[in-house]
Amino acid sequence: MMPPGAPRGAPGSDSDLSMDLSLLPPLALRVREHVVRMATDGGCFIGASLSCADLIVHLYTRVLRLSRETLADPGRDYLLLSKGHDVPALYATLAELGFMPRERLANHLKLHDSIYWHPNRGVPGVEFHSGSLGHLLAVATGIAYDIRLRGGANKVFVILGDGELDEGSVWEACLVASALRLDNLVAIVDRNEFQANLRTEELVPLEPIPAKFLAFGWSCATVDGHDFAALDAVVRPLGDAPAVPGKPSAVVARTVRGKGVPSIEARADRWFANFTAAEIEGLLGELHGGAAAGLTSEGLVVR
């Protein structure tokens, strides 16, 4: 079992220290490359994955007490993707950090592996399956409660979509987590301003989100979800202690759908995409600062 208060970060088994902040941008870039590559041959929820790629990279390298060796350790920190369709960003992070071979990413959607559109425990590092929005805050509540019962110091992080906040089950779980005073629980909202097809504020307005969490007995902070230094200031401390003792902590991370690939940024019709091989090359170029990819395949409405 991990010693309580073990150092954080899982850059690899040879290190038990957090990764240096300067290494995060290149790592996140590699993660985005993988995500873009998964958006063909069947495709993936590329927009939703790119918006929280930085959040996931930051959590794995600067926050979570978790490494390849401690994947099954009861003292590990947990990360749960409640908006499960962002799992390409997780697959990519797990591959880059050595939790699984990078080659496995090529198995995306293939019968002989379990790398598909939503998370499942067939992938090392995935704590629980998801795909139905509004479940994992409840599941996390159970995990966090058990950790407290056992006197554990570890934390449970959950990434929620902003559109996911429509689901009443999220608020029900918020009430319960607050009633149980689970201050080892952290919810991070990927505030990319869109749900599947529309801007949240044009469909079901969610603002003020912090006021909602506060009224439901949580603490709530807001952060730029693409700024590693800001995430370090706001999210990293939650790996040690709650923002307010006795309360679960929420963080609203302001993000951009499709972040990093201008041609698809903040576009509902590029939320899920299944590009041609040529388009993928163009998008990878964009990721590296190249010219606009000049997408030709039609936008998709899959939901």
């Binding site: 009861p74 629980f128 159970g142 029900e172 779980a173 009430l175 319960v176 149980l180």
Partner: protein
């Protein structure tokens, strides 16, 4: 026999992995908070969150025993049960309070009369329907020991019958077997009232209705009808052999249940007979496709035709 609460308390004290949960439904376990402390969790009126949290606890090695009114447990939280507990095959034990007729005067919102259909449809999920408090208490240690998720149609009524057979998962209790030389049948056209080649009739039931069906059995026997009575306390896994033997002997099965006709015991038996290509008459005494009239329990039974005498009449009419 210990009460349900005593049985659960004993198990929870012996097994630190057991967590008792409820969504504002502690009537049957009101003494446990004092005994279990933080291992008793009342989440409030939050059935879905309770199930999600139970899955989370199970992921951490716990065995949650969760309580709620049956209709809100299996229906409001259906997708949570199927997705968080079912897909992951976690050992969460679902205890549904006031199922079937036991919701008496509450009305259709509270009538869990599709609970068996819903729960048995979930892969991995087991379904148990004790006939009385004794059977419930006897079943509890076994089903908590099992690593499978399960649904229990909670019933803590006084003894329905004397139970000759100890509870076992996947086993039925055969309470009476048609005698070899019955009195001449008084009714029906074919000998012994059974289907072609069979004799008598087999009554199959579960839960609280066993008491009434046993009364019906006595009445039918008094009229010379050979009756087999089977207590199907474990609906999933099913005691297929017990059913198939009864079918072979009587060639006439009657499923008696406070459940919609579709999806419960009648469907289970129809599927079994089809699977084994057994020729056998099968009848349903159930709620058909409608909710029952809300009233106090004795009135409901009378009105809906589920007292012993009314069941006997209805069986006679089928023969």
């Amino acid at each position: 026999m210990p009460t349900y609460e005593e049985a659960l308390q004993a198990i929870a004290l012996a097994r630190p992995d057991v967590i008792v949960m409820t969504a504002e439904n502690r009537a049957a376990i009101r003494g446990l908070p004092a005994v279990l402390g933080e291992r008793f969790v009342d989440v409030g009126i939050c059935e879905q969150t309770m199930i999600g949290a139970a899955a989370g606890l199970a992921l951490r090695g716990r065995t949650p025993v969760v309580h709620a009114l049956a209709s809100f447990l299996v229906m409001r939280a259906f997708e949570f049960i199927r997705t968080d507990v079912g897909i992951a095959n976690l050992p969460v034990k679902l205890i549904g309070y006031v199922p079937g007729f036991l919701s008496d005067a509450n009305g259709p919102t509270h009538q869990a009369i599709e609970d068996v259909a819903l729960m048995r449809g979930i892969p991995n999920m087991q379904v148990f329907c004790p006939a009385d408090a004794a059977e419930l208490a006897a079943a509890l240690p076994l089903l908590i020991d099992s690593r499978a998720p399960c649904y229990v149609r909670f019933n803590a009524m006084p003894p329905a019958v004397a139970h000759p057979t100890p509870f076992a998962i996947g086993k039925a209790e055969v309470l009476s077997r048609a005698p070899n030389a019955p009195h001449a049948p008084e009714i029906g056209s074919d000998a012994g009232a059974g289907g072609p080649g069979g004799r008598g009739v087999a009554l199959l039931t579960y839960g609280f209705l066993l008491r009434e069906v046993d009364r019906a059995r006595a009445l039918l026997e008094a009229r010379g009808i050979p009756v087999e009575l089977i207590n199907l306390r474990s609906l999933k896994p099913l005691d297929e052999a017990a059913v198939l033997e009864a079918a072979a002997r009587t060639r006439r099965l009657v499923a008696v249940e406070d459940h919609f006709q579709t999806g419960g015991l009648y469907s289970i038996l129809a599927e079994l007979l089809a699977h084994h290509a057994v020729a056998c008459r099968l009848h349903s005494i159930s709620l058909g496709e409608r909710w029952f009239k809300p009233a106090l329990l004795p009135d409901v039974l009378e009105h809906e035709g589920f007292t012993g005498p009314r069941i006997a009449e209805r069986v006679l009419a089928l023969l």
